[in-house]
């Protein structure tokens, strides 16, 4: 099942990890892929550890949970340290530069994305770091198409926040282009 | 049961199951008279009851739809039926233990929602069917099969309870006041919203014989003596008042 790709988004509650996972999975379904998505978080709604795992395949997925990540996104140091060793050698880690100090000894491709910084400074809103990261993820991995993400944003984000989220997504894609170059 | 009320009685029903001296027969008659005076269509009447002697007042006797439910849950079942078919006139008839003890949570929430349910609570101040155990309505000091030395706890004032919870028609009468009771039942049926009538009904078998009122007429005499109106209660000394039961309309 080489066509299977497993993505783990991680951080803490309140960072929009679950929403980013929803958009990613929704985009996959819109492209005709088979997708499974599951989340886990602590009992409190804000602040505790949080992850969203999405599996993509061209065929029906038997075991729906992530077994080993092709892609890890870490939005916090805690999340990074918990999951950094559960990534395939051919995989990739995207971490939030400024929130995570990466372990350079890992034998995996790692890219720092200034998601929170861009969100705060360029978009004047700390709530869209997740979407900036999503943009970088889509640009650097091609896991789904940008068009599908835009459709997913139109479906799941309340109208009054759509422009902001689209802007954040495109900022993230730009960032992805730069760091991948 | 007088012949005039026969059309409200289900075919095949012969006698009521109540003990001699039980007040539930009078209450049954009063409910049917109220329905008759308002010319209610029994095909649109739904009678819901829980478990206990009073729950047998409508089931199987009344010739409309009847839903004899679980102990304490009559109001929850009634809520579902009324919400789905608002054309039904839904009357809940059950006892004090059923409605206010095991079903107490449903009672306050049904009152809070002010859904159009007509609740008739037959209060005999005891668990009759199960053998005379103390109830949440047994007055302090009275004896039951589980309080041989007298009930150590205070009873609920059911009318105050449901009024505080939001019921919009609230009244209390005794079966010794049948004319006033019928008038109240008619008002409750016409009222749109949660109506609650507490009806004091003697239980000589389980309550009377443990509390020096062995004979049915002694319980009737006791109710006649103790039930007074709010006006009559005014100016009574606290000690005197503590023995009395105030009847009348409390809401609106």
């Amino acid at each position: 099942m080489s066509e299977m790709r497993q993505v783990r988004l991680s951080g803490f509650g309140g960072q929009g990890i679950v929403l980013a996972g929803l958009l990613l999975g929704q985009a996959g379904v819109m492209e005709g892929k088979y997708v499974t998505g599951s989340n886990s978080y602590g009992a409190q709604a804000r602040g505790s550890g949080c992850k969203s795992e999405i599996v993509f395949s061209d065929h029906p997925i038997h075991y729906p949970h992530l077994i080993i990540a092709d892609i890890l996104v870490a939005m916090s140091q805690g999340a990074y340290q918990t999951y950094d060793e559960e990534v395939k050698e051919s995989g990739i880690i995207l971490y939030d530069r400024g929130r995570v100090v990466p372990n350079m000894e890992l034998n995996v491709k790692q890219l720092g994305v200034s998601a929170t910084e861009i969100s705060l400074k360029k978009l004047k809103n700390k709530q869209v770091a997740n979407i900036v990261m999503l943009g970088a993820l889509v640009e650097t991995t091609g896991i789904v198409s940008p068009r599908a993400i835009r459709k997913a944003i139109a479906l799941h984000i309340p109208k009054r926040f759509q422009a902001l989220n689209l802007k954040a997504f495109h900022k993230g894609m730009e960032l992805g282009k730069q760091i991948n170059a | 049961m007088v012949r005039a009320m026969e059309k409200y009685i289900r075919t095949g029903v012969k006698a009521t199951p109540f003990c001699p001296g039980c007040g539930h027969g009078i209450l049954m008659n009063s409910i049917l008279r109220a329905l008759d005076e308002l010319n209610m269509d029994m095909k649109k009447m739904l009678f819901v009851s829980g478990i206990g002697c009073a729950a047998w007042i409508p089931s199987p006797h009344f010739n409309g739809d009847t839903l004899h439910t679980l102990h304490g849950r009559a109001l929850a079942f009634a809520t579902g039926a009324k919400l789905y078919n608002p054309d039904l006139c839904v009357m809940v008839i059950s006892g004090d233990g059923d409605l206010s003890s095991i079903g107490g949570n449903h009672l306050i929430h049904a009152a809070r929602r002010n859904l159009d349910l007509k609740v008739v609570c037959a209060n005999n101040m005891i668990y009759g069917m199960t053998g005379g155990q103390v109830a949440s309505t047994t007055p302090k000091g009275f004896k039951s099969s589980t309080t041989g030395e007298g009930n150590p706890h205070r009873p609920f004032d059911l009318c105050k309870l449901v009024a505080a919870a939001g019921a919009t028609y609230v009244a209390r009468y005794s079966v010794t006041q049948p004319l006033a009771l019928i008038q109240a039942l008619k008002k409750a049926i016409r009222h749109v919203g949660f109506s609650f009538i507490e009806v004091l009904s003697p239980c000589p078998t389980q309550f009377g014989r443990r509390n020096l009122m062995d004979r049915p007429e002694e319980m009737i005499q006791d109710l006649l003596r103790r039930c007074i109106s709010e006006e009559e209660a005014e100016g009574l000394a606290e000690k005197e008042l503590s023995e009395k039961i105030i009847t009348g309309e409390f809401e609106p």
């Binding site: 929803l22 499974t36 | 039904l88 949570n105």
Partner: protein, 379 residues
């Protein structure tokens, strides 16, 4: 009694829904127009979606004061003519048991979704388990039957909730959809077709609503307000609903009938799926989420040339004993992985002639492929 095809109330398409959302949509498709519920993790999303959807389709939604009130309200609504549902999880499911017995004894169609979590007691509210399987069958007192289905995907949360309503209406029996946290919260592709097949309860004026001469038959069910002057009671009753609380014959006939109408129709009700069983020497019997893991493992082992297969139980109650018995004759070993201490394994042992191994885990986590692989190696 026959089914009919209706236009799907939700537009045809492929969606990325959670299991809980899909269950709500399956209920709406089946014609559910009454929902009463009480919040409890991990089932609350079903109630939240029903609150929105019932408003859109002209149904009734109410949040009740507790789970006992919720199931009681849906039984009341069902007798008023509604297809009605509630959803809950372990602690709420425990509270509902007395009323489930009432629904079984009064032959009231209704659907209860139990999104199981790690019990007993409050346990781990956000974690998975499947410890309510035996409770689903035996939770209320006395001898009665229910139908219990076990979805393994988001698609089946939709399909089996829809089927649950159809079975409930056909057989006048409470139907339980025994989901779990992992399936309820999983998001996955959900295909909704343009048409759905639905069954409605049968009505016949003047006929007894609680009796039939037909073996395994289901009596007609009128609604309140139709002029039938119904007599519904949870006490022992005759064919017209009259209480007969000290007639031994009426009691045994009624208890027998409400059991037989399900058991005699078992082959019609139960569904199972076979995977690689033709030449298997060992087989897993699995249900719910764990069947996903099991199938994954079976595929891996088949690639290595191992002769292993799987029987999936889509219906848990009535128990698909014919399929299990047949399998027990065909293979040497049966392995039953589940997120409890062997509840279904015990049932499998009743019907399997071969060796039955219970493989269980109760730590609030799903059973992963590695766990099953390791356990299989030890056998």
């Amino acid at each position: 009694m026959i089914s009919r095809w209706i236009k799907s109330p939700f537009p045809k398409g492929v969606y990325y829904f959670s299991g809980n959302e899909a269950a709500a949509e399956g209920a709406i498709a089946a014609g559910c127009r009454f929902y009463a519920g009480y919040p409890i993790t991990p089932s609350s999303e079903i109630m939240e979606r029903m609150a929105v959807r019932l408003k859109e389709v002209g149904g009734i939604f109410i949040q009740m004061e507790d789970e006992i009130a919720s199931i009681s309200a849906i039984i009341g609504a069902s007798w008023a003519g509604a297809k009605a549902m509630t959803a809950t999880s372990g602690p709420g499911f425990s509270l509902m048991q007395e009323s489930i017995g009432y629904a079984a004894f009064t032959e009231t169609p209704c659907v209860i979704i139990d999104v199981q979590r790690a019990g007993p007691c409050t346990g781990q509210a956000t974690r998975v388990g499947s410890g309510d399987i035996m409770q689903a069958k035996w939770g209320s007192h006395g001898d009665y039957q229910v139908i219990a289905l076990s979805p393994w995907s988001v698609q089946e949360m939709y399909d089996l909730t829809l089927r649950g309503f159809n079975l409930s209406e056909r057989y006048r029996v409470p139907t339980l959809v025994m989901s779990d946290e992992a399936i309820g919260h999983l998001r996955e592709n959900l295909s909704i077709h343009s048409k759905v097949e639905i069954w409605d309860r049968k009505k016949k004026r003047g006929r007894p609503p609680f009796g039939t001469e037909e073996e395994g038959g289901v009596p007609p069910m009128p609604a309140f307000g139709e002029g039938e002057r119904l007599l519904v009671t949870g006490s022992t009753h005759d064919a017209f609903g009259f209480r007969k609380t000290d007639d031994p014959e009426v009691h045994s006939r009624l208890v027998d009938r409400i059991n037989q109408k399900i058991l005699r129709n078992r082959t019609e009700i139960t569904e199972t799926e076979d995977y690689y069983l033709e030449d298997s020497e060992r087989a897993m019997i699995a249900y719910g989420f764990t069947a996903r893991t099991s199938l994954y493992v079976v595929h891996q082992l088949r690639k290595e040339g191992r002769k292993i297969g799987m029987l999936r139980l889509k219906t848990l109650w009535p128990f698909p004993e014919e399929a299990v018995t047949t399998l027990g004759k065909r293979v040497k070993k049966v392995i039953v992985p589940e997120m409890n201490l062997g509840q279904v394994a015990g049932e499998v042992k009743k019907f399997c002639a071969c060796e039955v191994i219970s493989l269980h885990q109760t730590n609030g986590e799903v059973i992963g492929p590695e766990t099953i692989m390791e356990m299989l190696k030890k056998i």
